[in-house]
Amino acid sequence: MTTWLELIGRKAGNFIREMGAVLLFFGQTLRWTVSSPFYLKNLLKQMEQIGVNSVPVVLTTAISTGMVLALQSYTGFKRFGAQSLIGAVVSLSMTRELGPVLTGLMVAGRAGAAMAAELGTMRVTEQIDALYTLATNPMKYLVVPRFLASTIMMFFLSATGMFVGIAGGYFVGVKVLGTNPVTYMNQSINNTEVQDIWYGLIKSLVFGAVVGLIGCYKGFNTEGGAEGVGKATTGAVVVSCMLILILDYFLSALLW
């Protein structure tokens, strides 16, 4: 009994310590984000790596989700003659929920893992120490560009994901299932407000910050060689995805 309590206590203690360390890391990141020098070239490079290079995976995910959503909604709604609502369901789901969440999860899996692996390798091969010895702050040089790039690019990726998902839904709804295109578009436009799009985009900014922060935190604090890099990479993906899903609920509740 005591052993179990000890184990739970130790796990809880570790979790709280880790969360504290992440918050401190976040504070430091924000602090260095607003002070010079600014590594614009690094930021642009990261925007390409995190954002541009994630476009194919985000497009594939969004278009297939939009198409499946239209197909499944049609099957369900047909039972009580509400097929005309497919457009509204697809566009509301993609803007408020699926666009930002799926983009967040995809970017966490692709770019978050890459960030943790790259910084983790730099840590265990002493490249981060080398930056310190060259009088260069690794938080500014490595972490801030990745954090900013992740936050900014998640916004644009989510917006693209929303649009492409809706287009995928339109294709299936109109071209495959034969829904009237005017009805489909009217339902989509009349039931989706600009506010819904903004809610989704605000979520995406938060998810982008989470992916950048956790990927960098895990990589920056890697210990123990190749095994440590593997653990950091896995940890970055798992923690980012869990935080995205948990925060999604609270943000949805907040932005109701």
Binding site: E126, Q127, A130, Y132, T133, L134, A135, T136, N137
Partner: protein
Amino acid sequence: MIEITDLFKSFGSLQVLRGVNLAVSKGESVTVIGGSGSGKSVLIKHIIGLLFPDRGQVKVAGQVLNNLDAQQLNEVRKKFGMLFQMAALFDSLPVWENVGFGLKQHTKLSDREIRKIATEKLALVGLKNVEDKMPVDLSGGMRKRVGLARAIAMDAEIILYDEPTTGLDPITADAINDLIVDLRKKLGVTSVAITHDMHSAYKISDRIAMLYKGEILETGTPDDIKNTTNPIVKQFITGSAVGPITAE
């Protein structure tokens, strides 16, 4: 130039340094020897402010590192060049950008000027036509040389060598030793090295200090160390498995 006074450092319950005292004069070359886990790397990381002591102090050019803020510490670090054990070259940058990294960050020189300086420093360490290669395309010895070129690129006053010959074949290792001696003659820098390679220690040092169980056990010229009567130092320099030091 460097004064280490009563330095203590622990990691959790593991006490690594237990009152290290060591002074290095300007232009001097001091090598710290000791077995694996004796605290050599922890010591060298204190000298450049990568780690900070639990007790005691490290003074570099009259400034106590523990008392400096980040900006002041960076100014002190500009006096240093450091050669890492595995060179620690930046994977994502070609050789010339690795060598010129400090210049890029801290001067207003153009890329063309930085590349020119990098080429000069690479020539000093015996490398030609490697400017555009990536670190992954270099051999272990070449990586060390590039690391050394990076260490001297900012005209450092102090160069730290972390196991400069580890992982190299004997001939390449000796070439690196010659290079260290040669650079010191040409540039007149202060050097601190840590190693367990005695051949290297004898060749590159004015003075050798033996670190054992977190304390400096003995200090002397290479000849003093060769003729030591201390059984621990004697066992270490002869590389004998029999004696007061037991293998881990």
